[in-house]
């Protein structure tokens, strides 16, 4: 016999793996669009720290002169991104899965401890149930960023028909910049996410495909296994039992 823990519901796994290629298409086609007018840079005084993007970058990725193609892909796959996102948020809310995701007041302190632990500056990580504080903050934020991308996207897609939204976001030019910054955020998230998943190992990764993870009582990465008991309800804010995961 093996003890398994059901970690990711089937729906969440579908939403996750649909989102991955769709978001990739959105970012790639977005880059084709951005190339046609690419004014953004990070500048300190006269010194350009980072230019979005250097010609060599565009050339290496074969970006130039593909605006029409980029718009076509962007305006088709946006619907898949939106639909998948709506279903994900609705499912997360209705199923109660949000309880694993939404950060609480302890999450920020925990996140700090997790970062210290990951950097080797702390011996133990704080106990957690499904996601640690840092994960909760990261995954919840990236969900909010998805909503932000849709809103800023529509603000630049229909700036006359939905002018109130464009105005609310600071105007047409501001909304375009916001849309871009959010995209950079997704790319940064992606790199950190992939590194962390690689660090967490195969069992964690495969649980996003199979949904379950075999419990190893002696896993040093996971605090000691406990019998399944309902979490105390009298004092919900006290640290929970060491995590099963």
């Amino acid at each position: 016999m093996k003890r398994i823990v059901h970690k990711h519901p089937l729906a969440i796994r579908w939403f996750h793996w649909i989102n991955f290629p769709v978001l990739f298409v959105m970012i790639w086609s977005g880059l084709l669009i951005y190339w046609a007018y690419d004014p953004y840079k990070i500048q300190i005084g006269d010194y350009v720290l980072l230019s979005f993007f250097p010609d060599s970058f565009y050339k290496a990725l074969k970006v130039p002169f593909r605006l029409a193609e980029g718009m076509a892909w962007h305006w088709v796959f946006m619907w898949v991104f939106i639909l998948n996102g709506i279903l994900y948020v609705a499912y997360t809310f209705i199923s109660g899965e949000w309880r694993h995701l939404v950060p609480d007041r302890n999450s920020f302190r925990e996140a700090g401890q997790v970062v210290l632990y990951d950097l080797g500056l702390r011996k133990t990580q704080p106990p957690f149930v499904k996601y640690n504080g840092a994960q909760k903050i990261a995954y919840f934020t990236v969900m909010l960023m998805g909503i932000g991308s849709v809103l800023t996207g529509f603000a630049i897609y229909k700036p006359v028909q939905i002018a109130w939204l464009t105005t609310l976001l600071g105007g047409y030019e501001a909304a375009r910049l916001e849309h871009f910054v959010l995209t950079v955020g997704f790319v940064l998230f992606f790199f950190v996410h992939v590194i962390q998943v690689a660090r967490a190992g195969w069992h964690n990764f495969q649980s996003m495909i199979t949904g379950f993870e075999v419990v190893k009582p002696t896993d040093p990465e996971r605090p000691v296994n406990q019998p399944v008991t309902p979490a105390p309800t009298s004092d919900p804010l006290s640290p929970t039992q060491p995590a099963l995961s």
Binding site: L67, M71, A72, W75, W98, K158, P159, V160, R176, L244
Partner: protein
């Protein structure tokens, strides 16, 4: 934030054969889904082009037009600004259709069903009420600029000359079936041409413009008469209008033929 307790994850004791089977099935479905999405990409990428863009993408973009029309409204106006904020001079981008000087005997030709084409001078346009607008002109490339334009409303023009309808009456909002579905415009040399849905053409901010920053439009901006249509990207704002016509079919469109969305409604 959340005050609720995070529940523990459900656990179960199962035989190893079960975990093995579950794993196998999950990875099998995962592989199938990956193959399916790769197949979808290949299907799109290997499709024939429809006007310069992959056919499946073109079909969805045309559906996007239908969706956009459900919330298009003449009451939705482009935000306007003080003319003092307008760029001087307004940015010039593109010379298709206006590479040679405009003819001295320029006239606006308007084709009508069952009637001789109308031939009009600038005086005829200027006789209509003049409207000014300062708004953010938006290029499909992504840049935008506050620009100040003035001219006659296209809707006033169509009403005054009883154009755009099958009956030969002035356009009547209560009789949408009487309207042709599109307006076509082209430069005198036919080097640049656009097609515009009739709803966008009748939008109150759509102008037959003859002034920029209070001066007659210069040659680069499409003298003597150009289209200013804030509900569209710049590509539809045809310069130096030579001919206007109406049709139910989509009139040919310079950039749509080159892979861009036909509607490009903002």
């Amino acid at each position: 934030m959340s005050q609720s307790t995070e529940p523990n994850l459900p656990e179960e004791d199962v035989p190893e054969s079960v975990t093995r089977r579950k794993t196998l099935i999950s990875f099998g479905v995962f592989a199938l889904a990956a193959a399916g999405s790769t197949g979808l990409y290949k299907y799109i990428a290997d499709s024939k082009n429809a006007m310069g863009v992959k056919r499946p993408l073109r079909l969805v973009m045309n559906e996007n037009e239908a969706i956009a029309k459900t919330y298009f409204s003449n009451a939705h106006l482009v935000p306007t600004f003080d003319p003092k904020q307008a760029a001087r001079p307004a940015r010039v981008n593109g010379y298709e259709g206006i590479k040679k000087p405009v003819a001295d005997d320029w006239q606006l030709q308007v084709d009508r069903p069952n009637a001789e084409p109308l031939l009009l001078s600038m005086d005829a346009i200027k006789a209509l009420p003049k409207h000014e607008i300062t708004y953010e002109f938006k290029c499909i490339e992504g840049w935008s600029q506050k620009q100040h334009w003035a001219g006659a409303r296209l809707s006033d023009f169509l009403a005054a000359y009883k154009l755009g309808t099958r009956s030969g009456n002035a356009p009547n909002p209560d009789q949408p079936d009487d309207l042709f579905r599109h307006v076509g415009m082209e430069t005198p040399d036919k080097g640049y041409y656009v097609g515009i849905d009739i709803e966008s053409a009748l939008h109150p901010q759509t102008l037959l413009a003859y002034e920029n920053n209070g001066q007659p439009i210069n040659a680069q901006h499409g003298a003597p008469l150009r289209l200013i249509i804030p509900v569209k990207y710049g590509v539809k704002n045809l310069k130096r209008i030579g001919r206007i016509f109406f049709s139910d079919e989509r009139p040919r469109d310079f950039w749509a033929e080159r892979g861009y969305d036909y509607y490009v409604g903002l």
